[in-house]
Structure formats: C-alpha cells, structure tokens
C-alpha cells in the first residue's frame, strides 16, 4: 500500500518536475545563445553576464549551477578548490580546472582549445575564442572530448567511499576487539545493517540465496543514503540527482540480476509455464521488455526524486531572497525548513527503495518454482 502510494507520488513529481525543468532549460538555452553572441569576446564574461541578470535569473542560474556536476569544487563566492581535468581527445589532456577561470575561459592544451558550456556544464572543444555553437533545440554541437575529469561529483564519490570504508571497516574491527559487540561511530549503523538483512534481503531473496547479495545491497544503500545526505548540506553537491550516477547504479543492479539468474528466471521470461503455448512468444516479448524497464525505472526514480528535491528546496530558499521582507521571507524560511526535514526523510527513503527493489529483482532471479502448474 505504502509502496504504491510512493510510486504514484514519484511519477507525479517526475512529470511536474520534468515539465518545469524542460521549460527552464529552454529559456536558459535561449539566454545562453544570446549572451554568447553578444558578449562572446568579453574577457570577464562571467561577471559581466551576471551583472546584467535580474535577481530571479541569478537564482535560477545558481540552482542550475548547483544541480550540475562541475569542474572544481565551488564552496562559496570566490572560494573554489580546483580539481584535475582529464580529457581524452586524440590524446590525453590533463590540466587544473582553475585554468577555466583565467582569461576568457578558454584553455589551450596540446594545441587544442576547450571551454565549458553553460548549458550542461560539460567541456567542449572550441576554437581560440571559446565559441560554442548550439543547434535549434539549444544543444551544443561542438565536438565533445571524453571527459574523465575528477569533477565535484567524482570527488564527492571518493570522499563518500573513503568515509564508508573507514566507518564500516572500523565497525568490523570493533567486533573482534570487543567480543562481538559493536563500538565506535559504526555501531549506530549496525541496526540499519540488520534491518537490510532481516527486512529487505531475507524476505525478498530468501534464506537460501540472500548472503551473496548482502554486500551489494549494503553498499548501495549506504552509498545512496550518504550521498543524498551530502546533497542536503550546504556543500552543494548533487551526486544522486545526476543521471550518469543513477544509470550506473541501476546498470549494476541489472547486471547482477542477469548474471546471477537461475534457470527458472529465464524460463519464466522466454517460455512462461502454465500459459497457452500461442501466447508464450508475446509474453516473452513483454517479459524481456520488463527486464529492461525495471532498471530504467530505478534510474529515473532516484534521479527524479533527488533532482526534484534539490530544485524545489533551492527554489524556496531562493524565494527568501526574492521577497526581501519579513513575512514572505519568514514564511519561505519555514517552508524551506519543513522541506529540508522532508528531504531528510526522502534521502533515506530513496536509498531504501533502490535497495528494496534491487533485492526484489535479485529475489526474482534466484526464485525456484516448485509447483510449475500452479501458475
């Protein structure tokens, strides 16, 4: 019951947000093209552009910037840690992200010129002037190098990974030191580990097979949860609301499901027992489609929830600055506060749902049907 309600909620949010985002993007893209055309050769392009924007547009730009993965870790105005940029474009190009802030924002490396698009924050190959062309839909048409940079998101993944490793290996060690009793900061996470084992893995996968999936389920739960929580800090990271991340996570679930699946799983996909033979090929088609839709839904659900959460939260925080009076600002603040609390719940909930559904798919993959005719 709760799950269904959540699904409906997710779909509604997804639709409303995607409309909003599409609109926003359209306007933004138009704006980008015009500003590029008019101020392309201005040396202080960024600052100049911002001065001409209204407060509302500034907030919009800030939100957009926040949601994007960036080269360099922007803490606050004027404070930014540079991160290494690694490009593969007919050869390796490595330089610091701080170079994008020098001169007109164009970096020359091994005879090639690169600039960051303001549309999606990706690096494109340009000429010496840093001109980025757009097609009629507002998408960049320049050649795009393969970007292996340690971006803000990659950096945050590393930090989260390190944190998880220290936390959980510490917890693991504390057991042997204290005679089977957890100690240290990790002990607060022990109930969650037990919860994932007893209420997610065992009921969905079954007593017989759950053990081999436990490492994945635990890792993915804490990984998503921690990154969701980092997303709520003023650090301004949006890792789990990035489509590349959620695609990667869902793909891993899909691969594990596919490669650990037992005979019964494939039999139920390609030749469903207990169904008239004529129907079986059609069912196979639908089932096969279903196996692909499942990870796709995982991808979109996590992406949309986190993305939408960030957009709404930041928009309401933005309202505080737009109202500029006690009543409006105060109300916006209260709303933002309430929403932050909700997002705290959503952070755990989305991690739970991703883990739960992964476990469900694994369970289907290893399920053994003893009474074939009962279907």
């Amino acid at each position: 019951m709760l799950k269904r309600a959540l699904h409906i909620l997710t779909i509604i949010t997804l639709f409303s947000i995607s409309n909003l985002v599409a609109q926003e993007h359209h306007e933004e893209a138009k704006h980008e093209t015009t500003s590029h055309q008019t101020e392309n050769h201005s040396s202080e392009h960024n600052q100049h552009g911002e001065e001409n924007l209204s407060l509302k547009d500034k907030i919009k730009k800030d939100i957009k910037h926040h949601l994007q993965d960036t080269h360099g870790f922007h803490i606050t105005k004027g404070i930014e840690f540079p991160l290494p940029v690694i490009l593969w474009d007919e050869g390796l190009h490595i330089f610091s992200s701080s170079k994008f802030h020098e001169g007109n924002g164009v970096v020359e490396s091994n005879g090639k010129y690169y600039a960051i698009s303001h549309g999606n924050g990706h690096i494109y190959r340009t000429d010496a002037s840093g001109k980025i062309e757009h097609n009629e839909k507002g998408f960049e048409t320049n050649k795009k190098p393969i970007d292996f940079s340690i971006t803000k998101n990659v950096f945050m993944i590393m930090i989260t990974g390190l944190l998880m490793f220290l936390l959980f290996s510490g917890l693991a060690k504390s057991y042997s030191k204290n005679g089977g009793i957890a100690k240290g900061p990790g002990r607060f996470l022990e109930p969650i580990i037990l919860y994932i084992r007893d209420d997610i893995a065992i009921p969905n996968i079954g007593e017989k097979h759950y053990k081999k999936y436990m490492p994945y389920l635990l890792t993915i739960f804490f990984f998503i949860w921690f990154l969701n929580l980092f997303g709520l800090t003023p650090l301004g990271v949006n890792v789990t609301g990035n489509i590349a991340i959620t695609v990667a996570l869902a793909l891993l679930t899909y691969l594990i499901t596919t490669f650990t699946a037992k005979k019964d799983y494939w039999k139920h996909i390609f030749w469903m027992p207990g169904v008239p033979v004529l129907l079986r090929p059609f069912l196979a088609l639908i089932e096969l489609l279903g196996t692909i839709i499942k990870p796709f839904a995982l991808t979109i659900r996590l992406y949309a929830n986190m993305f939408a959460g960030h957009v709404v939260l930041m928009s309401i925080i933005g309202l505080i600055f737009l109202y500029k009076n006690l009543v409006g600002g105060g109300l916006s603040f209260l709303l933002a506060f309430a929403l932050s609390l909700l997002e705290l719940l959503v952070a755990a909930l989305q991690a739970y749902i991703f883990t739960m559904l992964s476990a469900l798919y694994f369970g289907a993959a290893v399920e053994e049907h003893e009474h074939e005719e009962a279907h």
Partner: protein, 166 residues
C-alpha cells in the same frame, strides 16, 4: 529525454562504475563479511545461550525428580533392611532357644542315665553288702543255733524257702 542524454557524462559514469565497484569489493572484504559474520556469530551465541539455559532448567527439574526418586528408594531400602534385621534377630533368638532346649534335654538324658547307672551300682553294692551282712548274721545265728540240731534244720529249710522266694 534529449536533455537527459545531453547532460549524461560518460566520464562521470565511468568513474561511478569504477569507484563503486572498487568500494563494493573493498567493503565486502574488509567490512561486510566480518560485520555479518560477527553479527551472525553473536546471534548464534545468544541462541545457544538461551537453549543452554532452557536445557539446564530441564536438567535441574530432572535432577530434582531423580533426587526424589532416590530418596524414596533409600527410604524403602531402609525399611526393608530394618525388617530383615528384625526377622534375623527373631530367628537367632528362636534358634538359640531351640539349641538350648536341645542341649538341656541332652543333659537331662545324660543325667538320667548317670543316675540310673549310679542307682544300679548302689543297688548291687547294697546287695553285696546285704549278702555279706546276711552271711555275717547267718554266721552269728548259725554259731548260736548250731547247738540245737532241730533248730538247725528248721533254719536251713526256712532259709532255703526264703532264697527261692527272693
């Protein structure tokens, strides 16, 4: 969809897969396996301890029942022993009595025989002495009577008669 594809970063995808799989493998070896093992072991220990306590309780109950039984048996044995002892005592006393009776009877018998013997001996002694005495008397009588012939004959006849009568 187009926007999502436009925003999709191959590099970020690559790093995510690489870092996540690395993290998964590291955590599996250094965290999840020891943690789950430790937790399982602890749960097994708790389960075993509870079972052990239950077993100990059962054993104690059994032991109590055993004690009761042993006590009962001991009591019964004691009673049986006492009964046996009493019987044995009675037997011994009875036997002793019988033995004493037999001994007494035997003694009595012997005494009787001895008395008989002594009596017989005394009688024969007496007879002998009486004979000697009679002879002596007879001698004296005879010495005195022999002066009278008739009286002598009369006496012999009388004596003879007496002897055959005896």
């Amino acid at each position: 969809m187009d926007k999502l594809l436009n925003e999709f970063s191959v590099g970020l995808f690559f790093w995510q897969i690489l870092l996540f799989v690395g993290l998964l493998l590291l955590l599996r070896k250094f965290a999840w396996k020891p943690i789950l093992d430790a937790v399982n072991e602890r749960e097994d220990n708790i389960k075993n301890a509870l079972e052990g306590a239950e077993r100990a309780k059962q054993e104690m109950l059994n032991l109590q029942a055993d004690n009761e039984k042993i006590l009962k048996e001991a009591r019964a044995e004691r009673d049986a022993l006492l009964k046996d002892a009493r019987e044995m005592k009675d037997n011994i006393i009875n036997q002793a009595k019988e033995e004493a009776q037999i001994q007494a009877n035997k003694l009595m018998e012997q005494t009787k025989v001895a008395i008989q013997n002594e009596k017989a001996k005394a009688i024969s002694d007496m007879k002998k002495q009486m004979g000697e005495l009679s002879v002596a008397i007879a001698e004296k009588v005879v010495k005195k009577e022999l002066s009278d012939k008739e009286k002598q004959l009369q006496l012999v006849d009388q004596l003879l008669n007496e002897v055959t009568l005896n």
